[in-house]
């Protein structure tokens, strides 16, 4: 249950960082904004590591597969790609489309990790997408009513 609450909290944090980063990017540009984020973030986590002083994992450094280091790099690529792609599609669709990619790849990856596709994840994923589609259509109707976007 704790993990479930934490994961939802992760969603809250995602929105907060999107709002802050969008404002920062307006002032200094996307990559400078990202640079500032990583400088501040690195500094904070460096202080935390110094404060906690748990270095028992350091011996594992030699065993880490190279790809595991690429997460940070992919994170920056996601920011760069989002910056080009998201302005080109209606905002109400971006969360939905990104989630479709996430859940599809998530199910594939979980399959490789535990070597079985859970029916619950597929059914659950489809339900979530249907619910999002329904609400997206409500938003779309409202935007059309207010003549903010035109019918396609």
């Amino acid at each position: 249950m704790l993990y479930i609450i934490l994961a939802i909290l992760g969603g809250f944090l995602t929105i907060l960082s999107m709002v802050v980063n969008a404002n920062l990017a307006k002032k200094v540009g996307v990559f400078q904004g990202t640079f500032i984020n990583y400088v501040v973030g690195s500094f904070i986590i460096f202080l935390i590591v110094l404060f906690i002083q748990d270095y028992s994992y350091i011996n594992n450094l030699a065993n880490i597969p190279f790809y595991a280091y690429l997460g940070g790099t992919i994170g920056v690529l996601v920011v760069a790609a989002s910056n080009v792609i998201i302005p080109k599609i209606p905002t109400i669709y971006s969360t939905l489309l990104i989630f479709i990619g996430q859940i599809f790849m998530g199910i594939v990856i979980d399959y490789f990790r535990i070597s079985h596709v859970s029916k619950g994840k597929v059914i659950g994923g489809v339900l979530i997408i249907l619910g999002m589609l329904y609400n997206t259509n409500l938003d779309k109707k409202r935007l059309i009513d207010e003549n903010i976007i035109s019918e396609e």
Partner: protein, 140 residues
Amino acid sequence: MYRVYAVFIGILISIMLTFNGVLDGYLGNYLSVLLIHLCGLITVTIILISKRQKIVLNRQVPFYLYSGGAIGVLLVLVNNICFSSLGVALTSSLGVFGQLMLSCVIDHFGIIGMDVYKFEKKKLIGFTIILAGIIVMTIY
């Protein structure tokens, strides 16, 4: 075509969550987040150099905008902790549920300088379906 690219971003995010989670398994919660940030910092520095952009920090940037980095640290930490026990699919689903809820709250009250869009009660139907999906995913 851009819609396909948006789906591709989601695929990248899932791969990223996995790589970060694997690193977390080797290095624990804090050292892994440090390495992830350092790798990201190296990547964005390379991008800045290749675009020949100068790094200017003394512009008029309100202090709270620097908090993005702190939020980022928390976000990676939370995702890494959830990855090992919930897996990628469920972590992503709960995350998107949190995103949708907070977006509705921000829209309804117009917080953080955003325009006010009152919550439509009809949306509860969509949220109920989403919640059902999450419950199915969790208990199966």
